[in-house]
Symmetry: C2
Subunit: 215 residues, 2 copies
């Protein structure tokens, strides 16, 4: 059974969580508290030396980092996968776009402006710059979704999950999402998919990582 | 036949170029001059609205961005591909690592410190910071390669090409590569692979993009 190491509220952690839920795959979640510094602690680094979540442990005990890479393992052979070589390449084009043009901007603007605003004091200029860069990426996404129901056309899949992870919390990053109407319509379609669960469910059944790893 | 839009000396452009060469696939290169601003010009943006190279056009006229995504299309079905779901996920884990922990640091340090040093004046602190971040990524890579001949174990493939693109020009970014001996040994093994061609060959047979797209 998969074990997902995750932190509450994380868009990256949500991606493998949503995929596992939608495919009805058995898994458990261990909650690693970023705000308490647990991801950087020795106990967690013995599991993932990179000290980052999400981290996925397979039944065979192989650990995997990088949220978008996890989707390719979890969904392998399922209807959520791209089906042709060109679809696989297009899926990856958008996943690399997400990790360079959206996540690096939405994530810190949301973290310092919404999740831990006490840490964002004095960082207002950085937050504003991240928002502007995120808006540029969202404009590219909006143009693409104006002509496509889902990221690869007519069919929902892991590419949508990869993009949705941070895009759907863009409002918490201080971005006026109504400026991107095709993105908003797509987000509604994603939420209508079978087995959809909201981000708030991510750690609802989690056990605390620390409890099992006292120093 | 594939058409690769590329700029001279680019580690990202080198990745699809090397893959095409090693698989003996027919293609042509059109050289888009970044230093002259051609990637940002209207003529090129009509081909790739993102205004970035590399950009790959398939025989069917489908355009593809993101260097690492291109490898999954070009090498599909070949011996350079990862073979199992876990190998594919591990390959992607390292490709996302490359695009977040190596390329964003090696590339600008090399560009402003080596390729266009006149643009790097006054940016010395940024360049030093990029080098330090790149060294952290290279240390992770070095630890991995201490126990593996290639990125996924015993067999050379697209994961090696994706990592090699920028790592092999780390010295031009001002990084003492001898500090990473397992990386250096791996780079030698990559250069011994059948069909290997150096980065200097990237635009050796290219036609200039501008010549075919006068305003």
């Amino acid at each position: 059974m998969y074990v997902l190491y995750a932190t509450r509220g994380s868009g990256n952690c949500f991606k493998p969580f949503l995929t596992l839920c939608q495919l009805s795959i058995s898994f458990s979640v261990l909650e690693v508290d970023v705000l308490k510094g647990e991801t950087r602690g020795d106990a967690f680094r013995r599991i993932n030396p990179a000290g980052a979540v999400p981290y996925l442990m397979t039944t065979q005990g192989v650990g995997l980092g990088e949220s978008n890479a996890m989707l390719w393992l979890i969904a392998d052979g399922s209807s959520l996968m791209p089906q042709t070589a060109l679809e696989r390449a297009k899926s990856l084009q958008w996943m690399f776009f997400e990790q360079s043009k959206l996540e690096p901007h939405i994530s810190p603007a949301r973290f310092l402006g919404h999740i831990a605003p006490h840490l964002g004091k004095g960082r207002e200029a950085d937050i504003a710059a991240w928002r502007e860069k995120a808006r540029a990426g969202l404009a590219t996404l909006d143009a693409h979704l104006a002509g496509n129901a889902f990221m690869l056309g007519d069919r929902y899949g892991i590419t949508d999950i990869a993009l949705y992870g941070y895009v759907h919390v863009g409002d918490e990053a201080g971005i006026a999402m109504q400026d991107f109407p095709s993105v908003c319509s797509w987000m509604e379609r994603v939420r209508e998919q079978p087995g959809y669960v909201p981000l708030s469910e991510l750690c609802s059944t989690a056990k605390p990582f620390a409890a099992g790893h006292a120093a």
